[in-house]
Amino acid sequence: MRDGMRDTTRPTDSGEAGAAVGTTGPGGARETAATTGPGGARDAPGTTGPESPGQAADAPGPSGSRATAESAGPEGPRRDPTPPVPGGARTAVEATCPGSHAATPVTGRARVQQAEAAGPVGTGEAAGRAGVPAAARAPGPGALRDAGAVTGPRNGPRAAGPTGPGTARNPAATATTPAREHPGAPGPRARHGTCPGARTGILVIGGGTAAHRLVQRLHELGHPGPVTLLGAEPGPAYHRPLLTSVLGGGLCPADLVLPPLPEGTVVRTGTTAVAVDRWRRVVRTDDGGEYAYATLVLATGARPREPLEGAGVLRTLDDCARLGPGHVTVVGGGVLGVETAAALRRAGRRVTLAHPGPYPMADRLPAAAGRLLAARLARLGVEAEPDAEITGREHGKLRLRDGRLLDADTVLQCAGVTPDTALARAAGLTVRTGVVVDDALRTSDPYVRALGDCAEHPGAAPGTHANAWDQAEALAGLLATGRGRYRGTRYVVRPRVPGLDLVTMGRAHEDDQRVAFSDPARGRFAELSLRNGMLTSATLVGLPRAIAAVTQLHDHGLPVPADRLALLLGTAPAEAGPVELPDEAVVCRCNNVTKAALTAAIRAGARDLPALATATRATTGCGSCTPTVRALCTEVRTP
């Protein structure tokens, strides 16, 4: 993703820094507060204000080493949730999943309602996308107010199944929500008399992978309370990593749509959260709605860096649809740039890839690997403009610092992303590059969690789908069962370039032991860094089996096999001929007949296959040893 045009904003070493915050910072203190009651909880906002850690966080990490780290990350398409774009297009898609309430709507227009239980009792008008069972909804703000504004969502746990309209108003999930997630004792509001009520709901902001996965898993883990999801993008959630496949023509946009969320989830697409009032624990949306929460989850994702004038970006389905005609110049040599260029070639477009450094992903790949990548792209017909630093656009052409002018009917900028932290920042949460979270994915406010691309955790692999997925898994477990923690995600970059198997992962240290293999003529390369027999980093090209194997070693923290060469190249099974077979070798597995037994039988007069079969049963199972046995017949001579 890093294209050299801009500094990366994600500090490479955010890990360490973040860790400090996560474990020893206000977060920890806050956790205690959260569990110990109103007083503590109340204190939290004070101590966590934007001041303390926030300031440090605001500084982008521009140092060289950081840039390296950042560039490693990021394949744009692997990112998830869409940032809430204030005032962004919003469609009329409303609650798409029927069922019990989600977070408590405090005020709002008709759409901000409680969905009642689905099923037989549906009472309201059917709304929602085609294919999604419509929610039954009570119209009118009045109802809202009654239902939830003060007392919180009242219907029973979702697990209770369809309920009548009456039950939808029943008090609530309070009992079944993990204690930490709602102040059992009255929260700050109660003390101040302004409390909108006990809340039980989880409110998720963001409609990307992380949010979707979280909601799905909450349901599967039996989380009983209401869940509401606010997503700024107009349509339902979809697989961002597959956007390049849409560009390439392999998939159509509809193929990318994620499965509908579980029944009972209230989904508001085309709805942008514009402010978080952490004091009242209410989120305001661009349509004037207000949503109360017991737990707020930020899954706002990241957004592409500000593009050059006239350049497009690739982050959403809309971006795909907006792609201009003709010759496309892709700006940026990170994973996204590489995948995008390859995909556009697949679609038959003329493509130039303008990237910093001598080859794409130069900040990440050793030279030999980078050259293999460049060669493959060239073979696909991608025209390369290496060492390209764009300074501007003139008359439809791109001007580079060294004076080159590049043709460009359409410019697509794949220059990395920045976590979408506007909402968090405005709410006074601790933000560095992303919203700082601890192992419980808690922000500096214990009632607010963050995950996915918008979050910053020391152990995460920022900007990757795996990251969002792992964090969603961990957070769902925490919210539904109170157990578990996020243990980090290992960093693996596996660009999709037809005809090329390439992976790079981890981060090497100076004094690591290296294992290297380079076979450029056959398009193969490997470099492993090891420490105490464990991988710290690896880059492999053209070794598909080893890529899969090494990735698993890396992901699971397993020791590297002693035979490094076998790991990289595989071992050819030693095919001993029948005569070289040792005597004790079992020739017929099915009947457990050894070569010695066959030889003895042959010597005793069984000279052909049927006779040998009779004498020893060899060949009578699956029959696959027949050639070997036949060969033995001719090879073994009676003395």
Binding site: V593, D608, T616, T620, C622, G623, S624
Partner: protein, 781 residues
């Protein structure tokens, strides 16, 4: 070297066939019978023999040729079956066509009884299309179990001192009946449980279910097939509306271009099946490089517990590469959209990362399958024995459906049933939720029909009971059964978390085991009932292709032994049932089964001993006597009311337990070529014991070295549930994070002391195929 059949007296078994080894048994006698009634009545007629099978001219004739040059036989193609030597004595007994007692392939065999008490001699049937003249070492040596030195021949009752002592039948049956009655009076009918087996004949399975529901009135009956086929059965029913392992004859596989085998290792476990897989390019999904994987065109060596992600990834690729058979999907299926949506999350790079299977291999697999004219997707226990086994099987069904395979001649989806009567055993009412004919016990119409056949009021039938593991887990607990009757199963070895299950068994007031050898479970029993074995009884089995086969009696059972049907009648009568409600003649039981299954999903109404004995190849459903049976299901429609197959929207999830911390390795369990299931039978065959004498653990050399273990050392393998001891075998092709243990061995060698009792929520299948373990030398605390 049919030495094993000479009984335990035979020395040094398995050490290779010297020329004398084949000389003993008087098997040649049988060849004459071939031309007579025995041969002609062997099933197999009606199925076209494949080239090389059953077409050997002169096979079986002229004993004089047997030991000689083998002139009449071609040694091309499939291997010939061994032929007994010429110098045999004249026949004392006719050769009886029957089938191997063990696995679901039910290889056709010819049995010749030897002198009284000396067992029998077996040879493969030359013309049974399934095995085409082949047998594996288990089949060849099966007669040895007939004469096992510790064969049970008298009932045993535990005495006051705690020892099992001989008793006569009346004493044993009276004792059981009285205690059952007392327990029932004190605690209600569900205080008595019944545990059956997938090796029981259809007649036994049927009457066992009836016995439970009618004579005991208990809902607490299930069987070990729950540990075997239940995931595939659940997925198959949901997808196709009916569950028949292979909805086509095995021989169809012989014409396939490509076959994907997910979690099946037939080269080791049912070798003769490989004769049908010779033509096809095999794609084998298995965490181990098994004998089958060795023969594959493509081996996808996935991490244990990730088969579901793999299947989703293959479907993803089919969609992304435009390989979905859209006309078929539109015309013959429902639910594709939802399944596709799930699969879209599994792009190949992600699947690679989760499964460890290279992207290139995934692509190749899909390309192979989709490009084949005739392709099959087959699943086995490796994919199914997981806490997500049903979803995994369903994901492979999804793949097959997307490619348009099921219900098309020459292609399809199937699961390879494992136990001898795993198919029939699950159709006739020993499953907790089912009545005969694959009817559901909760369905009022099904209850009415079956109750009518049984002559009891429908409302007297109990409802669904606990699945196998839940049943075992509940034994001796406050609301669980206090007594258990076990037929054809050895759960002390074969159940997951076997240590716990043994404790539950020990907590019973009464454990009754009917078996022919003192299995590990029998040794725990309060009463042991000696019953007949395969070669001593008549009945039917239904093989993995849904074909009903005749098991025939070749020799008299030892004195003192009764058939299971006699045992059931003896108990039923003592419990107040009319005698004729529990027939002891297998044929009579089958006649009743026909009526009970009539109109059910597995309809046997048109199948009779007469038709089978006349050599007809009958696959169910076979609704009436004129019906030719149904070798191929679904050619016109699937069994759902709308005729469409169903995709399932499934999502991958991790195993219930992942390696880490104190238990850093995956353990997976399975079978070795020499043994069958808990080994109760095969461990009594000297030749097989010589081949695989004791528990072993396969481990990668690196992993072994790190653990301080070497080839041949004894390792302690521990999981959160227990530990087991096994001899180390270094296997360089294993994943370094995975060890493998066969589950056939007893006592502290039980692999199932380790396995996880996490259950599949839909099928009740335990997670046999993956758990987290630690491996260390013995002596390590």
């Amino acid at each position: 070297m049919r030495r094993a059949s000479a009984g335990p007296g035979a020395g040094a078994p398995g050490e290779g066939g010297g020329p004398t080894a084949g000389a003993g048994p008087p098997a040649a006698s049988g060849f004459r019978a071939d031309a007579g009634a025995g041969a002609s009545s062997d099933p197999g007629t009606g199925a076209a023999p494949r080239p090389g099978a059953g077409t050997r001219p002169g096979y079986g004739h002229g004993p004089g040729a047997a030991g000689g040059s083998g002139a009449p036989r071609s040694d091309a193609g499939t291997a010939p079956a061994p032929v007994p030597p010429a110098a045999s004595v004249a026949p004392a007994a006719p050769e009886v066509p029957t089938h191997c007692p063990y696995c679901a392939l039910q290889c056709g065999t010819r049995l010749t009884a030897r002198d009284a008490g000396a067992g029998a001699v077996v040879r493969p049937s030359p013309d049974f299309p399934v095995n085409q003249g082949g047998l594996c070492q288990k089949g060849w040596t099966a007669p040895a179990v007939l004469t096992a030195s510790d064969r049970l021949t008298t009932p045993l009752v535990r005495d006051a001192a705690g020892a099992l002592v001989p008793a006569d039948w009346d004493t044993a049956l009276d004792l059981i009946a009285n205690r059952l009655r007392a327990l029932r009076d004190a605690h209600g009918p569900d205080a008595v449980g019944v545990f059956g087996g997938g090796g029981l004949t259809n007649e036994k399975a049927y009457l066992l279910g009836k016995f439970a529901r009618v004579a005991l009135g208990t809902s607490q009956i299930d069987y070990n097939g729950r540990f075997c086929m239940s995931s595939a059965a659940t997925a198959g029913n949901a997808a196709f509306g009916v569950d028949r392992g292979l909805p086509f004859p095995v021989t169809d596989l012989g014409d396939a271009d490509v076959i994907l085998l997910a979690g099946a290792n037939p080269a080791d476990t049912m070798p003769p099946l490989m004769r049908h897989l010779g033509r096809a390019a095999l794609v084998v999904v298995d965490p181990r490089r098994t004998a089958t994987a060795e023969r594959a065109a493509l081996h996808l060596q996935n991490a244990p517990g990730t088969d579901l992600a793999l299947a989703l990834g293959l479907l993803h690729l089919a969609v992304a590469e435009g390989l979905v058979d859209t006309a078929y999907v539109a015309g013959r299926t429902a639910g594709f959209e939802a399944a596709r949506q799930r699969a879209m999350a599994w792009w190949p790079e992600r699947v690679e990362r989760v499964t460890g299977v290279p992207v290139t291999a995934l692509r190749e697999a899909v390309t192979l399958l989709a490009g084949a004219e005739r392709a099959y997707v087959l699943t086995g226990r490796g994919a199914e024995q997981h806490s997500k086994g049903t979803d995994t099987a369903a994901a492979f069904v999804n793949l097959a459906l997307a490619l348009g395979l099921p219900g098309r001649a020459g292609s399809g989806y199937g699961c390879l049933t494992g136990q001898g009567n795993g198919q029939g055993g699950r159709e006739h009412g020993q499953k907790a939720d089912q009545l005969p004919g694959y009817r559901m016990i909760a369905d009022p119409a099904a209850r009415a029909h079956v109750a009518g056949v049984w002559g009891v009021p429908a409302d007297s039938l109990p409802g669904p009971g606990r699945g196998a593991y839940e049943l075992l887990d509940a034994l001796g607990t406050a609301d669980g059964p206090k007594a258990l009757l076990v037929f054809g199963s050895n759960p002390a070895v074969s159940a997951p978390r076997a240590g716990h299950v043994s404790e539950r068994l020990a907590a019973l007031d009464l454990l009754v085991v009917a078996d022919f050898v003192p299995s590990e479970t029998a040794r725990m029993a309060d009463v042991v009932l000696p019953v007949t074995q395969w070669a001593e009884e008549e009945g039917t089995m239904t093989n993995l292709e849904g074909r009903v086969l005749r098991r025939r009696r070749a020799l008299r059972p030892p004195a003192g032994v009764r058939t299971d049907l006699e045992v059931l009648q003896g108990l039923a009568v003592r419990l107040g049932q009319p005698e004729d409600r529990f027939p002891t003649a297998p044929r009579a039981a089958f006649e009743e089964l026909r009526r009970a299954s009539r109109g059910g999903r597995a309809d046997y109404a048109g199948i009779s001993y007469e038709r089978l004995d006349a050599g007809e190849a009958l696959h169910w459903p076979c609704p009436d006597e004129e019906h030719p049976g149904t070798p191929r299901l679904f050619l016109d429609r699937f069994a759902h009311p709308d005729g469409r197959a169903r995709f399932a929207a499934v999502e991958h999830r991790d195993p219930a337990e992942n390696p880490g911390g104190r238990f850093p390795l995956y353990a997976t369990t399975g079978r070795s070529p020499a043994h069958y299931q808990s080994g109760a039978q095969t461990r009594r065959v000297p030749e097989l014991t010589a081949a695989a004498p004791e528990a072993y653990v396969e481990i990668h050399p690196d992993t072994a070295r790190r653990a301080g273990l070497d080839e041949g050392a004894t390792a302690r393998i521990s999981s959160a549930r227990g530990s087991t001891l096994a001899r180390v075998r270094l296997v360089g092709t294993l994943r370094t994070d995975t060890v493998f243990l066969p589950f056939h061995f007893p006592a502290e060698g039980r692999a199932n002391l380790l396995t996880n009792d996490a259950l599949d929520p839909r099928s009740g299948m335990p997670e046999f195929k993956v758990c987290a373990v630690r491996v260390e030398p013995i002596g390590t605390p």
